[in-house]
């Protein structure tokens, strides 16, 4: 069986072979093929957006995606939500000795395909191999570079005003619960799929029709409850959400109920949540619904100016509860 050994990480012949046969082969582009210590990029006409992220996910393959696709989507999405056009990505791999090379190749191919779809180039990379148990199979660190072509664009929570609307692009909790349902410690069999996807086109569509988008995020770890708290953290505003309007797939809801978790705090990898002016809300909604990743978009709440800096949720039976940021770990509970 072909597996990764420590020699694949020592910079010698094995490393070169791995780089040639996997990384160059699949990531193939003129910038990467400079094959130098640094890749020299051309001039970028506009403000730069830079983001970095590390991907550690168990299991590495899950319904709807894998760690490779996730790493590209996550990086592209982080660039997209600030209004940047994603251009380049670098990727660092930390691999546990013993990982099957065909598995590594599947991950690389998945990254390459996703990058192609997003029209971004993987321009630099690095591989390290560590001992058994030092990492769990494979970790990927990425840096993304994008360009903000519109010089006037600056989305920030300071733009939020009373009456603004909160829009969510679809169901919540799919990624987090999908991954959790596949963990070895659970014996759950569900058809929950990760929503892992590229959101740059959806964001571009939105920014094309409106100049009154206050802020956009992809609510990953901590779920929409945490992202919404971050939105208003440094403002005098509060947000009121209507639980009835927040879509949750029934299998996600069920699994959350079984182990005592709340979908509002579960990670998404293919959703955006944004705050927009009342005036433009319907127009934005319309354009979002035309994108296949935004079919279920809805206005789920609005901004109020009560100076209390809270996220309130009107519950399905009409009560009110305060949503704080995620506290503690997401662990299955019995009570």
């Amino acid at each position: 069986m072909n597996i990764i050994t420590l020699e694949h990480g020592n910079g010698g012949e094995y490393t070169h072979e791995l780089v040639r046969n996997l990384f160059y082969k699949h990531f193939q582009n003129e910038l990467l093929m400079q094959q130098s210590d640094s890749s020299i990029l051309g001039n970028i006409g506009g403000k730069l957006a830079v983001t970095t992220d590390s991907f550690v996910v168990d299991p590495i393959f899950f319904p709807g995606g894998d760690i490779g696709k996730l790493s590209i989507c996550g990086t592209v999405n982080d660039l997209a939500v600030v209004g940047a056009k994603p251009l380049y990505i670098t990727a660092g791999f930390i691999i546990e000795v013993g990982l099957r090379i065909d598995i590594l190749e599947r991950i690389i191919i998945s990254m390459a395909n996703t990058a192609k779809e997003a029209n971004v180039k993987i321009v630099a990379g690095d591989t390290k191999v560590v001992g058994k148990g030092d990492v769990d199979k494979i970790y990927i660190n990425t840096t993304g570079i994008g360009v903000i072509e519109d010089n006037t664009l600056y989305m920030n929570s300071s733009n939020i005003v009373e009456g603004d609307k909160v829009i969510l692009s679809g169901t919540i909790g799919d990624h987090g619960m999908c991954v959790m349902s596949k963990r070895a410690e659970f014996d759950f069999d569900t058809d929950i799929e990760s929503d892992c996807s590229l959101l740059h086109i959806l964001v571009t569509d939105i920014l094309e029709v409106s100049e009154n988008v206050r802020i956009i995020r992809d609510p990953t770890r901590g779920g929409i409850a945490t992202t919404l708290n971050e939105f208003i953290e440094n403002t005098q505003m509060s947000i009121v959400l209507n639980e009835e309007y927040i879509p949750v797939r029934s299998n996600v809801k069920s699994m959350c109920k079984m182990i005592g978790l709340d979908p509002l705090y579960i990670a998404n990898e293919g959703k955006i949540i944004l705050i927009v002016s009342t005036k433009d809300a319907e127009k934005i909604l319309e354009v979002m619904k035309r994108n296949k990743l935004g079919l279920e978009s809805r206005i789920i709440g609005e901004v109020i100016g009560d100076n209390r800096n809270k996220v309130y949720l009107k519950t399905e039976i009409g009560g009110t509860r305060i949503l704080n940021m995620l506290e503690g770990d997401l662990l299955p509970r019995i009570c």
Binding site: E185, D187, D262, T315, I317, G318, G319, L331, C335
Partner: protein, 362 residues
């Protein structure tokens, strides 16, 4: 019928609320004993829907919150043994012991695993014959038969590396203790539906018969809870004090014969130590002599040493509903969600944690 949706909507919620409002003719204190009821009340924002004169008090029915510091300390001590794997429900991870928690110890490299079921920890024992697996046996009567079953199976299948560090607690007597306390003045109880599914309706009947307090056994969907509240409010209004069973789809008068059988096979009633309330007679279960080889305390020759109750912590009184978190000297100064001392701060939905979270200060 899927036994969930029907109990959520049906357009009845507004109707019930109207009735509760019109029936609540005086100040009424109702205790929801069970932690899962507390969570549901929070989740659906029920408190916010009730008239001001109805006060809901969260009772001692969160097994994690009432787990004593001494118990956590003992679990941590066991985790220091290289040969031991600790298996626990996720709820226990952040509960503080005297100086540490299982979460911290896991981060420091101890083999502590979160399981969804005690039966799963039995599997871990089978897969790791060279290790000793200690399951942290906490819970109330709902969980007791499952823990009993795991011990019973271990014996039958000759699994000799499975142990339970047991601190199972039981309900009826703790409720009785709260009732007889002169300072406690509770007008009605919402009783734990899932505990009752095991022990039955009968063990709760004393609340009405002996103490003339209305009480309702109910489920966990909004309609179940609201209807139960309405029932209590109505009973208070008309001076009725029956213990009603609104959860008859899973609660029989005598409970579950099979579950009670396995509990009695493996356990015997005992005292138990409650965080914030102290040692209380006949509110727990201990492992019978016949199964002592599975009792972690006996096998590892350790004793759960109880710390003296934090002298200034008033969680005991808060749990009883006689004091407010703001009356506690330690509140928000020494005791906070990141460094909780008493059960009411340990639980996210505990009275103190809620006060802290919502910024209520002296």
């Amino acid at each position: 019928m899927n036994y969930v949706d029907e109990f959520v909507k049906e357009g009845l919620v507004e109707n019930i609320l109207k009735k509760i409002r019109s029936s609540a003719i005086r100040d009424i204190k109702i205790m929801e004993v069970c932690g899962t009821h507390t969570m549901a009340i929070m989740k659906y924002g029920i408190k916010d829907l009730l008239p001001q004169n109805i006060k809901l008090i969260s009772g001692p029915g969160c097994p994690v919150c009432v787990t004593s510091q001494g118990y956590i300390d003992t679990a941590i001590e066991l985790s220091y043994e290289d040969n031991i794997i600790i298996a626990t429900f996720g709820d226990m991870m952040k509960v503080p012991g005297t100086n540490s928690s299982l979460k911290i110890e896991k981060a420091l490299g101890r083999d502590i695993r979160v399981v969804y079921s005690p039966i799963q920890s039995l599997e871990i024992a089978k897969q790791n014959p060279e290790k000793e697996i200690v399951f942290l046996g906490i819970g109330f009567e709902t969980t007791a038969p499952i823990i009993a079953l795991s011990i019973y199976k271990a014996k039958n299948e000759n699994i000799n590396n499975y142990f339970v560090l047991n601190s199972i607690k039981t309900m009826p007597n703790i409720i009785q203790k709260l009732i007889v306390n002169k300072n406690v003045n509770i007008d009605g109880f919402i009783l734990p539906g899932h505990v009752a599914s095991i022990i039955g309706h009968k063990p709760f009947c004393f609340i009405g018969k002996e103490y003339n307090i209305p009480a309702v056994i109910t489920g966990f969907e909004p309609l179940d809870i609201l209807y139960a509240l309405y029932q209590v409010v109505r009973d208070v209004k008309y001076g009725k004090c029956k213990v009603e069973n609104l959860y008859s789809k899973v609660v029989e008068y005598e409970g579950s014969r099979k579950a009670k059988e396995i509990i009695n096979k493996v356990f015997i009633p005992s005292d138990s130590n409650w965080r914030g309330l102290g040692n209380i007679e006949n509110t727990g279960l201990k492992i019978l002599e016949g199964y002592k080889e599975f009792d972690a305390e006996k096998n590892f020759k350790i004793v759960i040493k109880e710390q003296l109750a934090q002298t200034q912590c008033i969680c005991g009184d808060i749990l009883k509903g006689v004091k407010d978190p703001l009356e506690c000297k330690m509140f928000s100064k020494i005791c906070s969600p990141s460094n909780p001392l008493g059960p009411c701060m340990v639980s996210l939905e505990g009275a103190c944690a809620v006060y802290y979270k919502y910024g209520l200060r002296r």
